[in-house]
Amino acid sequence: MTTEKIHNRQLVFMLFMIRSTVTIASLPVLTTGTAEQDAWLSAIVSLAATLLMILLIGGLAIKFPEETVFEYSRKLLGKTGGTIICFFFLWIFLNTAATEVRIYAELLTIGFLPHTPLIFLVSSMVLLAAVAVSLGVEVIARTADALIFSYIFFIAASLLGALKGFDFINLQPVLSRGFGPVFSSALTPAALGNQNLVLGVLVPTLTTPRKAIPSAALAALLSGIVLILSTITVVGVLGPKIGSSSLFPFFLMTKAIEISRFVERIEALVVIAWGLGIFINLSVFLYCGARGISQLARIRDYRPLIGPMAIFWIILSIHTYDDFLDLIKFFQPRVFFPYSITITVLPYLLLWAAYLIRHAGRGGKKYIRKRRIKPE
């Protein structure tokens, strides 16, 4: 087994790109719930929820700094129970990445290349990611290092460009319908915190695993700031009604930007940034999935699995959803939230319970009190 190591900084960049890509893709705080002009409050709520999710996932990961979640879950829950839970996680890696590449391909089909077959767009993205994964996690991390600046620049340019059309009235009234709509809009983004499951696989590859939680929290905070700023800008420019009825609010906002008579049509920047984000996203998820399967099946190297997995991925991404309406239905809070909680939080609660019980006899309680890590 090769011992590939990535720096914590690289983990921050990777998680930041994974999380922010969702924001610039569909801005779920605005499009899933009913918060409308209060969506920025939902963004804050979902940021808090994401931080909790990181404590839950990363907290357990740093207890086993040498092992991935696929190894220690079988240690904690026994062979059968552990394997079943591992399949849950594998499914999430598979499904999340397939869904995200599908959304990106949908955007390209709707906005730019109406005649290009979906499978061409999806497979070119997935194959690119497959090449990156076969080169190893170090390569993915270094790619994130290289891309992060242009990624941030593109997003910042779009947000700054939008300031001219910003109208503060669009954000009013604040909290006119109480906190109900705010929470309804925060559910899906909070549930999307399950992307942090990659921590379970990436922590053992870190140079300093014990600092995994601060790193992940920093990434969550940064992407949370991007989320809040984007939400405020999109609502301020497009108004809550147009924003929440569009499929890609961020994209529509950049389409409506006219910086001057000659500088307009800057939506390409967003699509490039989105493409970069999707590339990192897919690579990391494909890597985690491949590592998981290889460890479950006790295959020494994960690389031979990448080809078949990529094909599987492409097919799943095309066939899970008939059209965009399916995607919208899938991301509705009453579907996505229970789905994500069931297959992310519940397994982790089980793992935590098993961990606490097993370590209680051996001074585990003291350990927990000292580190102030509370089970959810």
Binding site: G111, I169, P173, V237, P240, K241, I242, I257, I306
Partner: protein, 439 residues
């Protein structure tokens, strides 16, 4: 498998080379096959009792060669018009713009559409289907300039604008320049209109383009909007004199401007309910803080002359207040003026002293207030809250709005009491502080 060096590099090289051969094969569109739409306009038509949308498009003519003015028309391109106006009908706006290709020899692309116009007939029937298309369609974008045409839409598109090659550029610039220089039309960017439409307690207001019939030899039909007595008359005479001179030179009157951007079309929902003139529209711009530049002519205190004050800076805010169960609106307006003209006979040239200064400021503020009042009266007549007073109430008192006003705003608006508090200092006097006198 794929590892750095060895096979990986070879494979990459092969794929890169392969990609060179694929360009121009897949979905290729040569520019020779395309025509760009520069302006879209929609009208309403009837066919067998069914309502049909009529789409008019101004296409840029790629065969047109500019600069061949001095007789030497090189090649066949020189005789071509710079643009072509084409129209088609359909039951929905999209069908109509797709039907355009029936008579077109090139595929129409809409990426470069600069302006969107509506005929009065369609505006009165409802324009939301077209506005929706502009959000949904991937090639159209909500940054275009938009207006309602008062007069013959098709004729307007076919006329030649003296300073522009294309009617689309003409309409685009007309709307932008008039907005900046005179503020007698509302903000005409489509996105702003969409937002106005979606806000509760606010109605859409689109710019009005008045098409002027091109009668050769006739008096120009321009509307004079600075309706102060005396001054308007003077302007007419002035222009008449100019016409005389030009007629003498060429033996034929050159046509006046083919169109003017002045006033606004007021909507209730997506249906137009009436026109507003330039003053009323500027009143609306005062209240909504969208005014950019303009001039106000006021009478001097002794009734012995006029002063023209240019509006430099403006700031306004709508403040709703609850007064004993009733909602009232206060509009704070702060405007900064610059004295540009003092029209007095040289014999009684005025010294600008403190009292005159204050007097002018008072009159300036009064003129602004009157303009706002006029605009409000017209809006109440049309029962359309174009100022967004309802939206201001919704933003400040959302409960009250939902429970009490949302359902009956049209009627409540017509009884709404609005107070305009205007503060209008005149801060600059130009380069002279008083008219130099003979004595």
């Amino acid at each position: 498998m794929l590892r750095p060096g060895g096979h990986f590099l070879k494979l990459t090289a092969v794929f890169c080379l392969l990609s060179l051969f694929t360009t121009g094969c897949w979905d290729n569109r040569e520019p020779e096959w395309l025509a760009s739409s520069l302006l879209l306009a929609f009208d309403l038509d009837e066919e067998k009792g069914e309502k049909m949308y009529k789409a008019l498009v101004v296409l840029a003519n790629p065969l047109f060669q500019s600069g061949g003015e001095s007789g030497s028309t090189g090649g066949g391109g020189g005789e071509k018009m710079p643009f072509w106006v084409h129209s088609a009908r359909g039951r929905t706006p999209f069908e109509a713009i797709l039907n355009l290709s029936q008579g077109t020899t090139r595929q129409i692309r809409f990426f470069h559409t600069q302006a969107l116009l509506f005929s009065e007939k369609l505006a009165r029937e409802g324009i939301w289907p077209v506005l929706e298309l502009f959000q949904r369609h991937r090639e159209l974008r909500p940054t275009v300039q938009t207006a309602v045409v008062d007069g013959d839409l098709e004729e307007l598109l076919r006329t030649e604008f003296p300073l522009e090659f294309l009617p689309s550029t003409a309409v685009d610039r007309l709307l932008r320049i008039t907005g900046i220089e005179r503020s007698i039309i509302p903000d005409s960017q489509l996105l702003k209109k969409l937002i106005e439409f979606t806000r509760p307690g606010e109605e859409m207001i689109l710019a009005r383009i008045k098409a002027l019939p091109q009668k050769v030899g006739g008096e120009p039909q321009g509307e004079d909007q600075q309706g102060q007595q005396g001054k308007g008359q003077q302007g007419k005479e002035q222009r008449g004199g100019n016409q005389q001179v030009r007629r003498n030179q060429q033996g034929q009157t050159p046509p006046g401007p083919p169109a003017e951007a002045i006033g606004a079309a007021v909507f209730r929902g997506d249906k137009m309910v009436g026109w507003m003139d330039g003053h009323e529209t500027r009143g609306q711009n005062w209240v909504r803080n969208t005014l950019q530049r303009g001039v106000i002519v006021i009478e001097l205190p002794g009734k012995n002359g006029l002063a023209a004050i240019e509006i430099i800076k403006i700031w306004s805010k709508i403040k709703p207040r609850i007064n004993g169960g009733e909602v009232t609106i206060t509009v704070d307006i702060t405007a900064e003026g610059r004295l540009q003209d003092l029209v007095v006979s040289p014999a009684e040239a005025l010294r600008l002293d403190k009292s005159l200064d204050q007097d002018l400021e008072k009159r300036f503020a009064e003129a602004i207030r009157r303009e706002c009042e006029r605009s409000l009266t017209r809006a109440k007549e049309l029962k359309a809250d174009i100022f967004g007073f309802g939206n201001a109430i919704y933003c400040k008192y959302p409960r009250l709005w939902e429970e009490n006003l949302a359902g009956r705003w049209e009627e409540a608006f017509s009884r709404l009491s609005v107070e305009f508090l205007v503060e209008a200092p005149i801060k600059r006097w130009g380069l002279i502080h008083t008219s130099p006198s003979k004595r």
